[in-house]
């Protein structure tokens, strides 16, 4: 344990430099000796506090073969600890170990053998496991954590996993924040993964829900074709085959690696007293040992070199998607690209005016810049007016023509100013909702620090028309694009 490197807890007080004050982003910050950061935003008034904890882990921290693990792990974090969800930990754990042994035997028989193994043996082991699962039920207190939060007035109770971050959410009455500290610090260090096998089934059902969303399976393939090498290649939910084969030891190893205080930030927004929050955080999170430093992702996205095309058919609306690689969040080009998306999109944007209003070729058309932590995409999407027999290919030509206009003629000063105004006001508007504010600030902290929200706003204001022209010329080129055309056909 490298205790020598642990700094004393330092309350940094109100850290709001000028730009932050301009947008009213007053974040109080405290770092625990184990490296965990506590952020607080005071919102006096209604006695509620949004309590979120974010871990710097998502699907990009998976590898081929373990896709979907981060999300499944998020589900499993609700299955108890030594303290929660169980009446007799030792008795329960003994049964749980026997279930795991049987499931491991089944796993090897079913998936390690090319012919699917001995089905009779598998059935016998499965029956034994089912009997043990029934036996274990007497020790399990179902959804203990969830119930405890709810009976204490917890709302916004949820969790989510993204490519980069996993978050655990609850909003509590202002006098009950300590409950969150107790429960979250407990599951940070003592998570115990009961009911693993039924929860795997739940997650597979969640994936089926996605599969039944019109166009999802095609979009998943498009993403996989666009991101070829980096871990953005797969969706957060993971491939079905990996979900089928994931084992409890995968979850345990994942938990040990990523669920450490130095890999987390807790944020509190609401009617709170920072001194009280800090004292409680010291007490609950402060005693958790620091974990090892973690390597960020290893494989970045290689240059594309040539245009890619995909086509598909199915029971969903016809459309075209054009995706260009752009740099990750924090790169200087992301601000002009985001503003360009604003200039192109919306009902006063260039694409709507041209393709929907003037030429009557599309019903909806949009552009989105999505700079992520280690890679980025800029997407155009258009829905052709099928009543007029317009095909997606025609929209492709039109979108290229709009791109060319930007490359050659640039954008007008008033277009840029409008996009800047919209962008700035939308940041302010987002601050009205305490939950949304907690999400923005907490997630930003894990990447480039919460101050990046303010710095980005300042950088955005400096973008010129020339910057926009340059990024269009640099990124909107044929060998950087993946074009996906989807056409409606009934049935699958």
């Amino acid at each position: 344990m490298k205790r020598a490197f642990l700094s004393m807890a330092v309350f940094l007080g109100i850290i709001s430099f000028l730009a932050a004050a301009e947008v009213g982003l007053d974040v109080k910050e405290h770092v625990l000796p184990n490296g965990m950061k506590i952020l607080m935003i005071q919102r006096p008034g209604v006695p509620r506090v949004v309590c979120h904890i974010y871990y710097k882990v998502g699907s990009i921290n998976e590898r081929p073969g373990t896709t979907g693990l981060a999300h499944l792990h998020e589900h499993m974090m609700f299955k108890g600890t030594k303290m929660m969800g169980v009446t007799n930990y030792e008795e329960d754990a003994a049964i749980d170990r026997r279930i795991d042994e049987l499931m491991d035997k089944i796993y090897r028989e079913k998936f390690w053998k090319q012919d699917g193994g001995d089905k009779e043996k598998v059935a016998q082991w499965q029956k034994e496991a089912d009997d043990l699962i029934k036996m274990e039920k007497k020790y399990i207190i179902k959804d203990d954590l969830w119930e405890l939060y709810m009976k204490n007035g917890g709302t916004g109770l949820n969790a989510s996993t993204s490519y980069e971050v996993t978050g655990y959410y609850v909003t509590l009455p202002a006098n009950k924040v300590e409950l969150q500290m107790l429960l979250e610090s407990d599951r940070m260090q003592n998570a115990y993964f009961r009911e693993f096998y039924s929860e795997k089934d739940v997650v597979m059902e969640e994936r089926r829900l996605s599969e039944n969303r019109p166009g999802y399976l095609f979009d998943e393939q498009v993403r996989a074709a666009f991101f070829t090498a980096s871990p953005y290649h797969w969706e957060v939910i993971g491939w079905m085959d990996d979900l089928r084969k994931v084992m409890k030891q995968d979850i345990i190893a994942f938990n040990k690696r990523h669920y450490t205080p130095n890999n987390a930030v807790a944020i509190y927004v609401g009617d709170l007293n920072p001194d009280t929050i800090i004292a409680m955080a010291e007490k609950y999170f402060g005693q958790i040992p620091k974990g090892p430093d973690l390597e960020p992702i290893r494989t970045y996205e290689p240059p594309q070199y040539s245009e890619k095309r995909l086509s598909g058919e199915g029971p969903a609306a016809s459309r075209i998607t054009m995706m260009f690689h752009i740099p990750p969040d924090g790169h200087a080009d992301t601000q002009p690209l985001s503003l360009l998306a604003g200039i192109l999109s919306g009902d006063t944007g260039r694409l709507y005016k041209s393709l929907v209003k003037e030429k009557d070729l599309a019903t909806r058309v949009m552009a989105m810049a999505n700079p992520m932590w280690y890679a980025g995409s800029f997407s155009f999407m258009g829905y052709p007016k099928t009543e007029k027999n317009v095909e997606p290919e025609q929209l492709e030509k039109e979108i290229w023509a709009e791109i060319e206009k930007i490359k050659t003629e640039g954008v007008k000063p008033e277009e840029l100013e409008k996009a800047k105004n919209k962008s700035e006001a939308s940041v302010l508007r987002g601050m009205q909702n305490p939950m949304f504010l907690a999400m923005r600030v907490g997630r930003a902290e894990l990447n480039r620090g919460w101050r990046s929200l303010v710095e980005d706003l300042a950088a955005m204001k400096k973008v010129t028309e020339d910057d926009i022209k340059k990024v269009a010329a640099k990124y909107f080129v044929k060998d950087n694009v993946t074009i996906a055309i989807y056409k409606r056909s009934m049935g699958r």
């Binding site: 209604v46 179902k142 709810m150 009455p173 009950k176 059902e205 089926r208 969903a316 609306a317 909806r364």
Partner: protein, 488 residues
Amino acid sequence: MKRTLALFVAISLIFVFIGTGQVKSPQDLKFPALKFDPPDPKAYRTVFAQNLRGYVQEDHSLPLVNISAIVHFGNIFTPKDKAGAGQLLEGTLIKGGTKTREGSAIEERIDFLGGTLSFSVDEQTSTLSLSLMSKDLEEGLGLFFDVLMNPEFRADSLAISKGRLIEDLKQANDAPSAVLAREFETLLYSDHPLTFRPTKASIEGITQGNLKAIQAQYFSPKNIILAVSGDFNKAELVKKVNAIISSWKNTKVVYPTFSQKFPDVEPGVYFIQKKINQGYVSLGQLGIKDTDPDYSAVQVMNFILGGGSFTSRITSKVRSDEGLAYNTGSRFTYRWGFPGTFSGYVQTKSATVGYAISLILKEFERIRKEPVTDDEMATAINYYLESFSDFFTAPAMTMMNFARLEMQGKPLDYYKTYRDKIKSVTKEKVMEVANKYIHPDKMAIMIVGDWEPCDKGSDKFPGPLGKLGKVQRISLRDPLTGEEIKPQ
């Protein structure tokens, strides 16, 4: 001008710091007392010129203003042959411009100011909402009321809106969740204005004149309630609004009355074929109005049954124990002036559709026959009491809540009495309302899925689905024509 920061809530929050020892169990936690009294709608109620009513709250925490106008007009007020008029009104009220402004000019200006202006039409109300920086309030108010008072629904915007709506109709049968929601309502409410759906013909038949007539008839100051919050001075705001609407005349509106009688639905299984790998299921019947004296008891009962997410019986059994579904539970929906619906719901892989339904039906029977436990009651009641202040976390939301209360004719002490009503619910009352409103023998079980694997079932519930009741196969309607799609 007296600039008063409105007292938002009367709060007495006493933090008693509990010492430094870390608590080892949640049961050992001792929370400091917290008293919360809800804001009183009367303190925010304002009557503008022309009897335009509103709820107004100053909030200077950010330099923003939110203003919404809730209009007593919704889709239900359009006749069957004009179904879709509400959606077209939604698409053209802003884009169609006003007597003096092009729609594009309004949108350009709002966008340039970094604002948002949107309009939506629901079942019985429509809402125009503006959000913008407080420095632009005066200009924003001018645009907002111009749209509300003087819309023109110009032909180009109407054509675009029709085109979009017709393309949307083509997608109406794509998502199984949308198909289930629509067809389940149609089954329960039958042929009624609540279930009229637009077709290509009805959309094409709607004219600029129809939309103008709707606006002229219903968009009248006394039929509108404002919800305003943000960084402004209330007295100044009232003065500005009054000046803008001084010439806005009230018109006499006679609201149609609608039948409250809905035909009995034949119990059994209603199956809609879709080649997907899960069955999407709703099983239930008509529910109650939210003005019913049993409302609070029904809320508590349904929380325990399937509305309280993981703490509820259905979620615990179907999802957590059996791993059959990601989404499952039960819900009462509510609608103004009509009974809502009650349903259990689940989406599960085709083979376990029958089994999941059987588990939900068992829970329906159980809550009718066995008293709920003291722990279940405590969790449900504490949830409603302890989360009560969540209704008021954002001034914009609080003002909207108050405006909706008044629009629907609910008592203004609704929030004041809310907690007492919840507290008064007993275990006996829970069982009483379960028996009164849940009738498994009369329920429609609707499934959208792939017939063969759903009907075949699995070990725990081998098919056929007929074991659950008489099976009726339902043909989907062609969303463009409203006609049944004949099987190929």
